[in-house]
Every structure is written in structure tokens, then in C-alpha cells.
Symmetry: C2
Subunit: 224 residues, 2 copies
């Protein structure tokens, strides 16, 4: 019986959902999608990806960079193992935080057992609001880190990293660091050799530690 | 009059077109688009981006990662200053090389004065075929570099770099190195401080030199 279970685990693809919404930051979603797409190629299909959006309407990424048609809506999304939540500018994130349908979707997802959730950049606010990061290590975009820490004192904010994992949540610190978080996940499922092969294929130097810009060279943000 | 010309240069946005086609590698197009999108934000709109595809039909990126609707077709594309050509697997690139409409579009573009063309990854084959890289320095994806060198002996292939510029063509060596090529272009137009600010915003370490994987740790490709 145990052998049978292992066999299912190995042959069923890992199902990765990427959440898309208007004004989403393109690199935040494209980096993880590319990593899992390469994992699909190199494992003969042990990874599958699809996108989900609030509705089936077309989605415009930030600055109308790309016009996307989602694979599924919140209402039609099939079962999945991972949810990747890309970030956006804070006005966009704050609009999502006030959106009851969006929060309800995330709360339903987070109530599932044995699923993993990955926040990229400012998407950490969406998980923090629901309380699932409380008393856990988490990270977010350096630009908003002080604001995040003051709003969510129960979360143990980790700085100078590209991503942090605790229990079933991985938070990444911004934009290209979504690539690192996805590479880490592939390494957990398929081992470091595949993770490193994908990093080489992408011409990307995988890393977890990464000094954040210091304030005078970076930017500042003060939330409402 | 010279003052008037300078004034136009500063106020007209730099128009960046990204070419999209079925099975295009998502990261190849998303990296440069993200860089120019951030440049748009940080310069109050001095950069604009749009996508172009052979027709207005929807485009699926590699492994159906994303479903895109292009902004323009070959027939309707407006004037632009840059054309970014992302890569794909070699079977896809070889299909494009044999596509008369595709080649005609690229030849028309390359015959224009004062435009820049950026190839990402395997897209270098598309420019090499047309002859515009002959007797010039260029680079491509490490995985296909030996094949590229044997097919195009008139091109001076540069290895262990992320991108190379010669005259009006920038070639990049693969996937995330499209980010470096785009950052370089922003630096040329707006200076190193903006380039470095965008790199920090993306949490990305900009670099031009980069050792390629050696064969035994990499992959091999032998073209037809």
C-alpha cells in the first residue's frame, strides 16, 4: 500500500496554479511559471501549470505590458498543489485586500490541507491579512518592509533574504526572487540536481541570502 | 533647431516592441518587458511597450504557460525604436526560420535606419539567417553555441557573456540575460543611475560577463 501511494506521488504531476489579476507585476508571475515550465520539460511532465483569475475576463499586467486570458476563474479552478501569488504596486494590493471575493478565495485555499502557498513581493500583505503568517517567519519586498513590520507585529519579518519557508508558506522578497522560491520548491520535490539544471538553463544564479538595498540607495514607502 | 530636436528626443517615449509567437519562452519576453515597464514608471512615461505577433490571434507561450493577446499584428504594427525578439526551443526557431512571412517581417524591420534589435537566447538564429550579424560580434544560448558557430562562421561568436552589442544589434545569451540586455539599453538612454535603480527594484544583479556552464555540467545540442 505504501508502495502504491509512492507510485501515485511520482506519476501524478505537481499542479501549480498562478494567480493573475489586473496590474499584476509580469516578472513576479513569469519567473515561477518559467521555472515550473522547465521542470515540466525536464521531468517528462511531472509538473503542470495553469493560471487562475477572479473571472474569465482578460487580465492586463502592470502598465498594460501583456494581455492575458486566464485558464480558469475562481469558480472553475480545479484542484492544485501550489498557489503562486504574484505582487503588484501597493495601491493595487490595497484594492485586492479590500475585495471580499478575493479574500474569500484565498481563505478557502489556505484552509486546505497539504497545499503550499507562495507569495511574491507585496503579495505577502494578502496572506498577512488572513493571519496565516502570524508567529511565523516571512519576508516581503524590501521597499515596503518597514511598513509591513509595523502593520503585522505578530509576523517575524526576515530581511536580507530572497525567500523564507515556514510550514506550508513560502514568501519571497520581490520580483526576480520569485525565481529562487520556485527553484527551491523544485529542489524539494525533485532534488538539487534538477533545481541546479534549471538554474543553469535559465542562466540564473540561485540564492537564498541576498543583502537588501540600504535605504539611501533604495526607496521608501509609507502605507496608509 | 538642434534644441528642438533634443526636446523631441526627451519628451517622445522610446517605443519598445516585443515580438510574441506560439511557444515563445515566457521569461525571454517577460524580463525585458518588466525592465522597460519599470523604466516607464520611473521616468514618467519616457518608455512605452507593446507586443506584436504575426496575426491578432491569441499566442500560447511554451507549454501553454500563458495565453496572450498581442497588441498589434505584423500588418498593423506602428513605428517603434526597439524590437525585442525572444527565443524558443530549436524546433520552434527552425519553424520560424522557414516561415516566409516571419523572415519578411524581420528583413523589413532590419532595413530601417536608427532602430535597435535585441535577440534573446536562440532568437540569434533568426537574425543570423538574414546576414545582419556577419562580421560582427554576437552571442546566443550556451546550449546551442557550438551549432551556431558551425552554421554561421562569418559571425564572431562571443562566449561567457550575458549580452553583446555591436552597432544596432544586441544579442543576449539566454533567458534571464534578456534582463541584462534591457537594463543595458535603459542605461544607454537614461544613464547608469536609472539602470541601477531598476536592477535594485527587480532585486537583480546586473552583469555583462558570466561564465557559461561547461559541457559536462550543461547540455548539448546538435542541429540538423
Amino acid at each position: 500500500m505504501e508502495h502504491f501511494t509512492e507510485s501515485i506521488t511520482k506519476t501524478d504531476p505537481l499542479r501549480i496554479t498562478v494567480l493573475v489579476f489586473d496590474h499584476v507585476v509580469l516578472q513576479d508571475l513569469a519567473g515561477p511559471l518559467e521555472v515550473f515550465s522547465k521542470a515540466h520539460n525536464l521531468t517528462q511532465g511531472q509538473y503542470s501549470t495553469f493560471t487562475v483569475a477572479p473571472t474569465m475576463e482578460q487580465v492586463l499586467t502592470e502598465n498594460s505590458g501583456l494581455t492575458l486570458t486566464p485558464d480558469y476563474s475562481f469558480a472553475t479552478m480545479p484542484e492544485a498543489d501550489y498557489l503562486i501569488i504574484p505582487g503588484a504596486s501597493m495601491p493595487v494590493i490595497n484594492t485586492l485586500r479590500a475585495d471580499a471575493d478575493f479574500s474569500a478565495f484565498l481563505s478557502r485555499w489556505l484552509s486546505k490541507a497539504a497545499v503550499k502557498t507562495v507569495s511574491i513581493c507585496t503579495a505577502a500583505y494578502l496572506l498577512a491579512d488572513i493571519g496565516v503568517m502570524n508567529n511565523k517567519k516571512a519576508t516581503t519586498y524590501f521597499f515596503v518592509a518597514d511598513d509591513f513590520a509595523s502593520h503585522f507585529p505578530l509576523i517575524e519579518l526576515v530581511r536580507d533574504v530572497r525567500f523564507v519557508e515556514q510550514q506550508n508558506i513560502i514568501s519571497s522578497s520581490g520580483v526576480t526572487s520569485g525565481i529562487d522560491a520556485a527553484l527551491y520548491s523544485v529542489g524539494q520535490h525533485s532534488g538539487a540536481p534538477l533545481r541546479n539544471m534549471i538554474a543553469r538553463a535559465l542562466r540564473y544564479d540561485y540564492q537564498q541570502q541576498h543583502d537588501w538595498p540600504i535605504a539611501e540607495h533604495g526607496m521608501t514607502y509609507h502605507g496608509e
